[in-house]
Subunit: 340 residues, 2 copies
């Protein structure tokens, strides 16, 4: 396992041996194994733990356990306590979204102020496949099917290649202790249904289905690159901006195929859905002056152009991408990567 | 149902009201409903039935039943009997592949010699979703996920919008009789496992999962268009042909991103797999003169070019795309559409 870990870091060019890495550690088995591997490999690391105060007394015990880990390895320990429920009420977002935002900002702060080059999470191979299936049932399109990336900006996933079984074996062989994630045993949750029911059923259809999905994830990734490469060119051609108003040249956009795909990719950044995009494409000939609204933006049809501007009062709409509950961290919603 | 049927024909531009359509009829519920709809709409059609002799006495009864349908509607009837098992032995292909080849060639012959503009099949909405899931577990990539097309060359699917339930309702209301497909009741088959176990489980994860999949199929279709549009340009730039040898300019290909995707799309037409494509990309620098073989073709590395030629003895490799068993017809394997 140690060898595979080191090979993966090298192959995916995750970081240099001299870099200082901040590990996002929940105390669950994945992040405990992550710590042990960093230690066995002799790498320079520290441990960060978020207490979301969502599991009552258990949340405090998680934090204590992670602190004891940092003592075991003799590394720095960073900890924070979030008023997650308050954040949910104030920002009108889901608990999951709140936890993600809070984590994201805090890890970024810690890594910047203490000079960590990267933040590492304990995402693994099975997380990746479960996320693929969950996003498939939710209909997130290609963006949700290309899986978790080994490296994206400052976030790295050094054990993304490891299966849940490999992680459990390593844990046993190295006599590691960890905290049980309470939600893991409740099959009422979707992720557990996927793990304990859906994947075994898919394995009846094809015993190698996990390997097949891994290959498919690789293909979806390439299709996403293809889409982004094309999208970049299309945007350079048709999108312009003046005085906080974004203008899209619809006649020019129609010379790029498939037009509905490109228009959706552009408008989704402003909170518009696929069916709204279709309406706009259908109606732009007939109704000059007609308006369309997302939760954050307004579009006005103006002959052959779409004029997009910000609505005055906005609420962040709920993000539909799913993140593994077992993980400590996820990058910002994907669509933000394409803001103009 | 009749109205939806007529609207779909118009919206998808399937055929003109004056066209003569050959219906592929197995005698199962889908094709029986297809006949009734053509009759109720007052369209000009005839019925064709293939007897594959795979179900013993039942095969003969199927043929008799379909003949009686043609008498009921007062339309022409075309019938053929295939030595399917002999074909399997001679051509070393699967039964499914044999049935597809035999059907394809015969329907084409009949429609050409009797002036039918199109051949219609009874594929429906649930077929489409089941095929998506089956191809997902088999790892066919985007080509297997974009679903069945309403129209492809001479083949049309006029009830592709209809769910299995809608078809059953229409059948009952119109007092139609049909032949049971024997394999439908045997859950040992993959398609039935998908229908009776996988889809209900997915519906527990998301009650609207069928609608989600329909939308995803639409998105995959658009991604396929994007891929094909790009692929066409790449091929025009890097592929050339002389004296039965096809040459690919690998250095030039590397300027198109993502390179592995384009190379795989080009080489898969000659029977090469994804991992062989990866090997070629990795090794082309080091081993000039090295050869790679698919079941039908040979590639020689020649500095910055790949030279592809046909092997002398070839066997058709088995096609991995799945077709609904309930359907009478399917187009030729997709990859053939891209032969140079």
């Amino acid at each position: 396992m140690l060898q595979k870990f080191q090979q993966f870091i090298k192959k995916e060019n995750l970081f240099a041996v001299s870099d200082k890495i901040l590990l996002a550690v929940s105390g669950g088995i994945d992040s405990v194994v992550l710590c042990e591997l960093f230690s066995q490999a002799g790498l320079s690391f520290a441990i960060a733990h978020c207490n979301f105060q969502l599991r009552g007394e258990e949340s405090g015990k998680d934090a204590e356990f992670v602190k004891s880990l940092s003592e075991k390895y003799g590394v720095e320990f960073y900890e924070t306590v979030f008023e997650t429920k308050k954040y949910v009420e104030t920002h009108k977002v889901s608990i999951q979204m709140a936890a993600r935002d809070l984590r994201y900002n805090w890890f970024k702060e810690v890594s910047e102020s203490h000079n960590f080059q990267y933040i590492a999470t304990g995402h693994h191979f099975d997380d990746n496949i479960e996320t693929l299936l969950l996003n498939l049932t939710r209909g997130t399109g290609i963006r949700g099917l290309r899986g978790i990336l080994p490296k994206s900006n400052k976030i790295i996933r050094p054990i993304l290649w490891a299966s849940r079984n490999e992680i459990a074996d390593f844990c046993e062989k190295n006599d590691l202790t960890f905290r049980e994630d309470a939600s893991n045993k409740e099959t009422k949750y979707k992720r557990n249904k996927i793990r304990h029911e859906l994947i075994p059923l898919l394995e009846q259809l094809n015993p190698n289905v996990k390997e097949v999905f891994q290959r498919e994830i690789g293909r979806f990734k390439q299709l996403e690159i293809l889409l982004d490469t094309n999208l970049q060119k299309v945007k350079e051609a048709v999108v312009s901006s003046k005085n906080d108003v974004i203008s899209i040249d619809l006649e020019l956009l129609k010379t790029f195929h498939p037009t509905p795909l490109f228009l959706y990719e552009i408008l989704s950044e402003y909170g518009f859905t696929e069916s709204e995009t279709e309406n706009i494409l259908e109606e732009h000939h007939t109704f000059s002056g007609k308006q369309f609204f997302s939760s954050t933006h307004r579009i006005v049809l103006n002959r052959n152009h779409l004029l997009i501007s910000k609505k005055v009062e906005t609420n962040l709409s709920e993000e539909i991408f799913e993140v593994p509950e077992s993980a400590d961290f996820i990058e910002k919603p994907l669509r933000l990567r394409f803001s103009i």
